[in-house]
Symmetry: C2
Subunit: 338 residues, 2 copies
Amino acid sequence: MLRIAVAAAATALIATTALAQQPIALRDMGSFHVGGRHIEITGQPIKEIVFTPGGVPAKVDPNGTYQVEQMYSQYFLVQNRKGKLPLLMWHGGGLSGVTYETKPDGKPGWMNYFLRQGWDVYVSDAMERGRSGWTNQFKGEPVFLPLGDPWERFRIGPAGSWSPDKAKRKTYPGTQFPIEAYEQFMKQGVPRWVTTDKQIVAAYIALVDKVCPCVVMVHSQSGTFGYQVLEARPDKVKALVAVEPTRGGDRSKVASIKSTPIAMIYGDFAKDHPRWSKIRQGGVDYAGVLKAAGGSIDVIDLPDAGLRGNSHMVMMDRNSDEVAALIQKWLAGKGFVD
Amino acid sequence: MLRIAVAAAATALIATTALAQQPIALRDMGSFHVGGRHIEITGQPIKEIVFTPGGVPAKVDPNGTYQVEQMYSQYFLVQNRKGKLPLLMWHGGGLSGVTYETKPDGKPGWMNYFLRQGWDVYVSDAMERGRSGWTNQFKGEPVFLPLGDPWERFRIGPAGSWSPDKAKRKTYPGTQFPIEAYEQFMKQGVPRWVTTDKQIVAAYIALVDKVCPCVVMVHSQSGTFGYQVLEARPDKVKALVAVEPTRGGDRSKVASIKSTPIAMIYGDFAKDHPRWSKIRQGGVDYAGVLKAAGGSIDVIDLPDAGLRGNSHMVMMDRNSDEVAALIQKWLAGKGFVD
């Protein structure tokens, strides 16, 4: 049996490697901004700004109309399409669409994985993050994360395991996060506000109205956005893959979304984590309410599926392809793959 | 003669359309962040932040080490390579790498053009912009541009031609800018500082050290960055295509960069524009100094090449493919195309 398993694993590995070496053929690629609105600023003095040191000064009148709250989305449309609908990938808090691109350790991430599986992919930067731009008209202050903060909050290591000294950092046993690339991961961070959920959701709805019906994949903070958009557009979001979502949906709206299959996926070390155990339990409880109303939701704890050691940043973990394969299989099982 | 010219133009058009319809085949695609540094913040109180409304609060200690000043770059490596070196595309002020992606009118931009011509392409967001992230530790205030500001500064229309009322906006005669997509263009804007050139250049140098020898294409503000990086790495920047650069290089350093061919490209309406006439003349004067030192630089006014109506945002103008073809021909003439 062991010999057969090893042989099968070797065959799978060769197949995966061959796939990874084939060119990615795209019938088109591009980007756009959606949503947002115009606001008026008045009563400010005219400024003279030297945009380039030593350059020619330009007069800028800061009064007038401003474009705010739009969202950026980049798309890659595959030549040989197998996913029946576009796959929209939404990142978590303090990050951008880069989450799904090359992993911090330099290996291919989920965007390339799903492209190679034949999905048309749309990767967005949430309103206010990355290429979506931001405005000084948001309420409150932006949040900047210190280098060590995600180490424990994203379940790479338990409480007290972070150290500025790389040699002294501890991890959960068997962590899949590529800890040698942690500093590189932190280069992906962007500031975020905690007052802008409404505008973020509005922009995601504008995206869904433009490119769906579709499958939406969310991670962490965008879990709440994914559910809100699904509740607003149950006819357009045909499946929701919620990877480590920080929240479930609105329990009063479960009846309206019961025709959309949902996967809720949690990594390792969540059940015993002081904060994540509560977050996960909230998701499990929500799933119960949705199921009772006739909805379709699968709560998948990766360790129960034989995948151990996953951090909150599942798509950056060493075994990210295996988790992606689990998602691909789930989507195929729901009829979304040709 | 006219009949022959029309026939030739029709053949070229068919060839271009056929090329645009072929899939884009990539041997790889991905992204990374380069450069940046760690800084220390001390003496700040610990905060409790509810990252998701209704979610589980998290304690965040804002003291400690922060990652700052890194830069994002996304790359697309073509299957059938014809450009001999990677092509690095750097955007202008208040914008991001989106500049080179799909044009505001929804048509393909220069990134796709040069990919289809067989170039490996790296499109970056300058340090502080877009997916590079930013920090509240930059000096001074960020600049936000009102909706109308670029209309005149980017030479879509002359002084006094902007109006919030679309029907009342005026343009230069024969402008190539897709004015119906002006509002869409303004969605691409991101805040920018005017105090961070040093850090921006440091990050571009880190990029060049990682992926070059290469050809660097710059636009507007990144003209000054392109020259500074060329002066710092004359052995690695093998050609510089400066599209509407706001400055030339350092006249005291011309001897050190004379082996790198440079194209300086200006659109229409620049010679008579109160601000652009000075900017352009600065470039022309610099070119004279470089040539006198034995350097190789071509100043190309697009109207002199038969391309009329170009705004500052050349790569978004209706005739952007024609300008790209001019650049492609220049690069081929310098020996950079197989």
